[in-house]
Each structure stands twice: as structure tokens, then as C-alpha cells.
């Protein structure tokens, strides 16, 4: 019964001190909570800031905190940190594609915006024209205020 042997092996391999496990859970929970609170504080701070460079900087910090939270959830809650190295690599290496994915597509979006502003002056003018704010709290039927323009 190979299958049963494997199960035995796995359950033995993972058997750990339950108190230590609980301590780790509490530690990670505190870390996730603190990171989230910092993110929220930065979010509130962001509301009052006009300078573009500062805004980008704060958003960058928020993104780093987001990745740190992801690391703790995957590493500890999903236990990936405690798996075998070869297994971790089969998960993590394909995810490296995201580096290309994010950079290439965001750069493409940015380039599209610049080209469109350059060659379509009407579009640029439209996107600079301020309009009256509609009353949000009216509770009208949504179909009555379809004002989104299709790009």
C-alpha cells in the first residue's frame, strides 16, 4: 500500500508543535494587521497631497506593503515557506512572468495615452473639459444617467 505509506509520511512530516504553530499564526496576524493599518494611514495621507511626485512615492510604498502582505499570506498561512524547495520553485518561477506582464502592459497603456493625446487633439481637449458634478444622492434610475462615454 504505497498510497498509505505516503500519507503516513506526509502527516508525520507536517506534524509540528501546535503551540508553536499558534504563536506563528498570531505573529503573522499582527504583521498583516499592522501593514494594513499603515496602508490605510498612507491612503488617508494621500487624500491631502497634490504634488505628483509625492503621490507616486506614497503609492509605491503602498504597493510594497501589498507585496509584503502577499508574502506573509502565501509563506505562512498557505505554508509555502515550509514546503520543499523544488516544489516552491515550480510555483514561484512561473509567477516571475508577472514582471514582464506588468511592465509591458502598463508601458503600453502609457504609450497609447501619449500617442492619442498627440494625434487626436479633440480627445485631449475633451479630457480637459470640466463638467458639472451630477447629484449622487438623488437615487434616480441608473438608466436615466448614462453619461459615460465609450472610448
Amino acid at each position: 500500500m504505497h498510497f498509505m505509506e505516503n500519507i503516513q509520511e506526509i502527516t508525520h512530516h507536517h506534524s509540528f508543535d501546535r503551540e508553536a504553530g499558534k504563536k506563528e499564526v498570531i505573529r503573522v496576524t499582527v504583521i498583516l494587521t499592522v501593514f494594513t493599518l499603515i496602508e490605510l494611514a498612507l491612503g488617508f495621507w494621500l487624500m491631502g497631497i497634490e504634488a505628483q511626485f509625492m503621490r507616486h512615492l506614497i503609492k509605491g510604498v503602498i504597493c510594497i506593503l501589498m507585496l509584503a502582505k502577499a508574502f506573509y499570506i502565501v509563506g505562512y498561512f498557505m505554508h509555502l515557506k515550509h514546503e520543499l524547495r523544488n516544489m516552491i520553485m515550480t510555483i514561484v518561477v512561473p509567477l516571475l512572468l508577472f514582471f514582464w506582464f506588468i511592465i509591458a502592459f502598463l508601458a503600453d497603456g502609457n504609450s497609447y495615452k501619449n500617442l492619442k493625446n498627440k494625434y487626436d487633439p479633440y480627445h485631449l481637449e475633451q479630457s480637459k473639459t470640466k463638467v458639472e458634478a451630477p447629484a449622487h444622492e438623488g437615487g434616480e434610475h441608473p438608466d436615466a444617467k448614462k453619461e459615460g462615454s465609450k472610448e
Binding site: E5, N6, I7, I10, T11, H13, F16, R18, K22, T36, L40, L42, G43, F44, L46, M47, K59, M66, K69, A70, I73, V74, F77, M78, H82, E83, L84, R85, N86, M87, T90, I91, L95, F101, F105, L106, D108, G109, N110, Y112, K113, H123, L124, S127, K128, T129, K130, V131, P134, H136, E137, G139, E140, P142, D143, K145, K146, E147, G148, E151
Partner: protein, 223 residues
């Protein structure tokens, strides 16, 4: 840290599990990896469109209502949703750990707490969607202006409802899976099997839902 493995341990010589993982759990990992690409594609297309737009609505103006308090509370409601999901992830870890210790009572208790957390999150989302719909937001309809006061396209609401909807559907299916796990635990299915590995697979899925929310929360509400 990877598990310390003696150098002479021959993982691939047959007779043992080379990744030291049960088949189903390994496949859950690969499913979640592919699901990560699905969500990644959604969020990156959202980012691409946002980068391609001259203006974009200010999330602090759009998401500023709290049930019972009215509007003027940016970030408040979504913070609540975030903490609900984190706490439900914690109770799920505790259920998995209780499963290791073959502690049926603790598994049941923590699974029930996780299910309650999931339902609470879904209720919050239902409220938020209803509220936004009353304000005139839906797929193809965007009542909000860009942050600079110019007219916005419907991209903002389209992406918001599609991505939070897809995430909400994952939460919903996670709750269903957890309910099935609870019923199986109560029927002593895992006691008879001699292990609670199934709870671990459900746990992986549930943590993934929490993980995706970390990204959705940041991309839509914070930045």
C-alpha cells in the same frame, strides 16, 4: 525557509512523494497558480486602461459611504471588509492546525467561524454593490467624474464590477467549499480517513481568496 532535507535523501528514486505533498494538495497549488494569472490578467488590464486614460475617478469620492452613517467616510467600509477577510483567514489556519492535531471539535469551531467571516464579507459586498447601483453605477454606466472634474468613461465601473464580482464569486465558492468541509467533518469522514488533508486544500483556496483581496483592495480603493 525550505525544509531542511538531508543531502543523501533520494526524493526521486521512487516509492515516495518527491515534493512530500499529497497529490490533491499539489494540484490545488497549480490550480491557484493559474487562478493567480487570471486575476493578474484582470488587474493588469485594469492598470493598462488606467495608464491609457487622461483622467480617472477618485476612489475616496466614490467609496465613501458606510451603512447607517451615510457618506463622508472614505476607506472606512473597505477597511472593515479587509479585516473581516484577514480574520477569516486566521480562523482557517487554526482549523487546518486543529486538523493536524486530529482535534475535531476545534476544526468544527474554526470552520464555522471562517464560514461566518465569509458570509459577513459577502454581505458587505452586497451592500456596497447595491449602494453603488443606487447611485447609478453599473456595467456600462458611470455617474462619477474624474478626480480633476472631467467626464469619466465607463471603464472605471466596468472594471470595478467585473473584478470585485469575480473575487466575490471566489469568496462565495470558498464559503460553499467550507460548508462542505464542515458537513464532512461533522460526519466523521476525516476521522475515518485518519487525516484532515482535505481541510488543508480548502484552506489553501480560502487563503488565496484573501490574497487576491489584498491586491484588489490596493488597486481599487487605495491608489
Amino acid at each position: 525557509m525550505a525544509q531542511a532535507v538531508p543531502a543523501e535523501q533520494k526524493w526521486w528514486s521512487g516509492g515516495k512523494s518527491p515534493f512530500n505533498l499529497e497529490y490533491g494538495k499539489l494540484m490545488m497549488w497549480y490550480f491557484l497558480m493559474s487562478d493567480a494569472f487570471t486575476f493578474g490578467a484582470f488587474l493588469i488590464s485594469y492598470g493598462t486602461i488606467r495608464f491609457a486614460s487622461n483622467g480617472w475617478p477618485d476612489p475616496n469620492k466614490v467609496f465613501q459611504s458606510f451603512p447607517g452613517l451615510g457618506s463622508g467616510y472614505p476607506l472606512a467600509f473597505v477597511s472593515l471588509m479587509t479585516f473581516i477577510l484577514i480574520i477569516s483567514s486566521v480562523t482557517m489556519v487554526l482549523a487546518v492546525q486543529a486538523g493536524h492535531a486530529m482535534d475535531k471539535k476545534a476544526v468544527v469551531r474554526n470552520l464555522i467561524l471562517t464560514i461566518i467571516g465569509g458570509l459577513a464579507f459577502l454581505s458587505c459586498q452586497a451592500w456596497e454593490w447595491t449602494h453603488l447601483h443606487h447611485e447609478g453605477a453599473w456595467w456600462g454606466s458611470n455617474p462619477f467624474l474624474n478626480a480633476d472634474g472631467t467626464k469619466a468613461s465607463t471603464n472605471f465601473t466596468n472594471f470595478f464590477f467585473t473584478i470585485t464580482g469575480f473575487h466575490g464569486f471566489h469568496v462565495f465558492s470558498g464559503v460553499i467549499i467550507n460548508i462542505i468541509m464542515l458537513i464532512m467533518t461533522l460526519n466523521d469522514v476525516f476521522e475515518r480517513k485518519g487525516h484532515y488533508l482535505m481541510i488543508e486544500k480548502a484552506g489553501l483556496y480560502w487563503h488565496f481568496v484573501d490574497l487576491v483581496w489584498v491586491f484588489v483592495f490596493t488597486c481599487f480603493y487605495l491608489i
